[in-house]
């Protein structure tokens, strides 16, 4: 019985492997968008900055299907079971835990006032804000801002590079993806010693973070799927504009290092 099955399964495996290889080759061949020759269309193509569009669209479609059966129901259940104030608390805790990474990025962006804001936010919210559940610091004059590795690289003058739609991460670019890896490096939790349950905590936080983030965009993503003629392109445009706005806000933050109360 085993002897008969063995060669057959091996054969099946090679066939599957061959099919997979063929699919990969097809993906590679179809992976690049063809450059148009018409000047107006070419200008549009360059503005789109998405030369890997066919491949990106495949990953987008797969991600959407996987999401519909996994993450989306979990996020929906989370929204159904947990009331909004508690969800805001969870999101605040996660954002507080990411403060060290935000701080390092503020520093590398050469934005001392932003770094000061982040430092004070971490201090206030970790204590008065009960381990980060309440964002007290925002009311005390230290508003939240974004900082990540992608923005730091932008501050250093790196262009974003072409649009990428990555599995698990979603809309991205070479710059943002590199920045993402930097952020993992900036996070103190990356360096926790093994064997204290901290690794588990780290993964749990990561999981909760994914669900919390997905829950926060449930309505918006549904709305895009419903109203956009080409949701992929709409998400690409939203991602780009949002990223650029964050970078612009960071660049235009020219607040002096000496706080107001000191100079008065």
């Amino acid at each position: 019985m085993q002897q008969i099955q063995h060669p057959r399964s091996q054969k099946a495996r090679t066939a599957a492997g061959r099919a997979g290889l063929a699919a990969l080759l097809a993906l590679g061949a179809a992976g690049c968008a063809t450059k148009p020759t018409d000047p107006a269309a070419l200008a549009e193509y360059n503005q789109r900055n998405d030369p890997l569009e066919p491949t990106n669209r495949v990953i987008y479609r797969v991600s959407k299907t996987v999401d519909a059966y996994t993450l989306k129901p979990v996020a929906q259940a989370y929204v159904w079971a947990v009331p909004l104030p508690a969800r805001t608390g969870v999101s605040n805790v996660l954002s507080n835990i990411s403060s060290p990474a935000v701080f390092f990025n503020d520093v590398f962006e050469a934005k001392p006032r932003r770094a000061g804001d982040t430092f004070m936010r971490f201090l206030i919210n970790s204590t008065v804000g009960v381990a980060g559940v309440f964002d007290v610091a925002a009311d005390w004059g230290y508003p939240k801002h974004s900082a990540n590795g992608g923005m730091t690289l932008a501050a250093w003058g790196l262009p974003s590079g072409p649009y990428l739609f990555l599995p698990l991460i979603g809309p991205s670019s070479p710059r943002a993806a590199t920045g993402f890896a930097m952020d993992v490096g900036f996070s103190p939790l990356t360096y926790v010693p093994r064997g204290y349950g901290l690794i588990t905590l780290n993964w749990a936080l990561y999981g909760v973070g994914i669900v919390s983030t997905r829950a926060s965009v449930l309505n918006d993503l549904d709305q895009i799927q419903k109203t956009a003629l080409d949701p992929y392109a709409t998400i690409r445009s939203l991602y780009r504009q949002h990223t650029n706005a964050e970078i612009e806000a960071m660049r235009n933050d020219h607040r002096a290092t000496v706080p107001d109360w000191y100079s008065h």
Binding site: T234, Q241, A245
Partner: protein, 214 residues
């Protein structure tokens, strides 16, 4: 090729001279004039946003069914939003290649799409509040900064873009947290057209389907 470049450089000289002259003559008097005009239109446009926002909030937070609110919002959209201009912008380069009938059909559909998407959101904005901030000029348009607050939601920075192209102040775009609604819509249509043979007729058909789904 060299012929063209020499021609253009020969032409450029008088042009530069004329430009220099024009600025030399007008420069002493323009700064004051321009800034005074800007200040006036800035203040006027900020007041325009304030008044429109108040009227919209009165409808959104007021009593009445969803259908009644829809009916109350419609005149505000017709009067204070330059929907035709937004529609033209969103079609991009395809506006010029579209036939007059297609342009008319598309514009009518665009009105419906915009109205539907605003009506859909009316319910979500219950209890909304708005603070009008500074107005700035950019590319001949006024950007009025506002902060929108909703109960149990983080505040959102929203800019209202005002144009005077029709002779009166009208909204031509809304930029929410750095995201321009018209630019997003334009890239949606551009991508749809790129994948549908640049055929405006197919875009119109898709918009018809979208409107009938509502």
């Amino acid at each position: 090729m060299p012929k063209i470049s020499s021609l253009s450089s020969a032409r450029r000289l008088p042009f530069v001279l004329a430009l220099g002259l024009a600025t030399a003559v007008t420069a002493p008097m323009t700064p004051g004039l321009i800034s005074a005009a800007h200040a006036q239109s800035n203040a006027g446009d900020a007041a325009f946003v304030q008044s429109l926002a108040q009227r919209m909030i009165a409808v959104v937070n007021g009593p009445g069914s969803a259908a009644e609110k829809k009916a109350q919002i419609q005149p505000l959209l017709d009067q204070d939003v330059d929907v035709d201009a937004i529609a033209r912008f969103c079609l991009g380069r395809f506006w010029r290649t579209a036939t007059p009938e297609q342009q008319a059909q598309y514009t009518a559909l665009f009105h419906q799409v915009l109205t539907n998407s605003i009506d859909d959101k009316l319910g979500e904005y219950r209890g909304v509040g708005i603070t009008v901030g500074q107005a700035t000029q950019q590319d001949g348009k006024t950007y009025v900064a506002t902060v929108i607050s909703r109960p149990n939601q983080p505040t959102a920075n929203v800019q209202w873009v005002i144009s005077h192209a029709t002779g009166q102040p009208r909204i031509v775009d809304v930029v929410a947290e750095g995201v321009s609604l018209s630019l997003t819509q334009r890239s949606d249509y551009a991508s749809f057209l790129a994948h549908n043979g640049n055929d405006v007729g197919r875009l119109i058909a898709a918009l018809k389907r979208q409107v009938s789904r509502e």
